[in-house]
Subunit: 231 residues, 2 copies
DNA sequence: ACCTTCATGTCGAAC
DNA sequence: GTTCGACGTGAAGGT
């Protein structure tokens, strides 16, 4: 990894065009050739970047650029698309290279998959007498998160989300439409289960006769059997 | 901005929990206190990070940590949420600080807004005799990108996207449902216009009687009047 | 290779 | 401050 701190201007052309005026920034060149241009604030997202596969070419500035104070022109060209990043370096305050090796990678826990496992294991969260038909119940347009039968034996399709938004309601609606064509299942009710449900999503769901349920992840985990843990 | 290259392990706890085993990485500390942990590959996204507002606290390792080779423990605590990042430093290969100043920021072009302006200006792209009623036509659930009248005077709602996907068709469908309740407008047709329309989105649109139109951004720009340019 | 869904999404703008 | 949709979304997993 090469780290350069320099005053520079940056131009990107690809899916859009973007320009960064002259300022001091960090330019990070990774081992795979990818380049990240960071300012000293904001978020984890670089101001500009080029994703691998790409190649970095260093060129001398032309006369006009040199007159502007440009000391080097870096062109980063994507290997697949015609995306291109051009960094015009002026003053370089720092330049160092480091051998980092390959990273062993990240271990995660707590995402939607886990919420789905917990709910599958605790179907009574939806109501007494409910039972799980199956998790990831297949349909032609994709699997429904949970298919259940309520205490009266009525089929219920459950869509699980960490955050319930309008897209999730649309998704569940499409599933319900399909499932209700199956005479062995129909009528199929819908339940939209999430840690948090946005008002607009809730309104749309209720309007379509879908039941909304906000679930407490920590509470589910609390009564969780360790053997069902993902990790 | 402070740049540290060190062997380290990292733990994050917040919306999820995540762990990074011991390896050599770049730790970037920005002026606003935010921290990014990068490996020497992958994408522009850090392996782990903490967004501002947050505060970095440096502590001595306890005996067990010291026995493991830990030389310092950095705790990055988010100021609003209970998100927390803990970086345990072992060997430090590089440590430097740099004053970058405030960044003037990015100038963009070529996004959906521009496409919408261009189409509003060249409604004849949809067909001869079409006229624009208005851009950003308001409805209770948000503005329709373009409302037009075709050559026969029939109202047409146009949804503009850079990439046409299933979400956009759903969005347009909701608009059409609402607009068709207005006796002054009904019947309202729908047009789904995008630089690129995904097959599934096209199928859904056609199934709902929505016309699909792939638009050529460069061609629209070519005949574009400079006064309508966003920049 | 294509398509779908998830994300510690992030980000900006309207409300 | 909250809610919403766009993003150079990126990244992972399934067909």
């Amino acid at each position: 990894m090469r780290l350069v701190i320099a005053t520079c201007s940056v131009d990107y052309a690809g899916r859009l065009t973007a320009h960064l005026p002259l300022a001091t920034r960090l330019i990070m060149v990774k081992a795979d050739g990818s380049v990240l241009v960071h300012s000293d604030g904001g978020s984890y997202k670089p101001l500009n970047w080029m994703s691998p596969p790409c190649t970095l070419t260093v060129a001398e500035p032309d006369d006009a650029e040199r007159a502007d104070g440009v000391t080097a022109v870096w062109t980063v060209q994507n290997g697949k698309t015609d995306d291109r990043l051009v960094v015009r370096l002026h003053e370089v305050a720092h330049d160092s290279s480091h051998d980092l090796g390959v990273d062993p990678g990240l271990v995660k826990d707590g995402v939607e998959a886990h919420l789905q496992v917990l709910l599958a294991d605790q179907v009574e969260t939806f109501g007494a007498g409910w039972r799980l038909v199956r998790r990831e119940y297949p349909t032609p347009i994709g699997p429904v998160d949970l298919l259940c039968r309520d205490d009266e034996g009525v089929a219920v399709a459950v869509e699980v989300k960490r955050r319930g938004e309008i897209d999730g309601v649309e998704q569940l609606t499409r599933y319900l439409e399909l499932l209700n064509r199956d005479p062995l299942l129909a009528p199929v009710r819908g339940v939209f289960a999430a840690q948090e449900i946005k008002p607009q999503a809730r309104t749309l769901a209720v309007d379509r006769g879908i039941t909304c349920l906000t679930v407490d992840y920590d509470a589910l985990r609390g009564v969780d059997d360790p053997s069902t843990r993902l990790f």
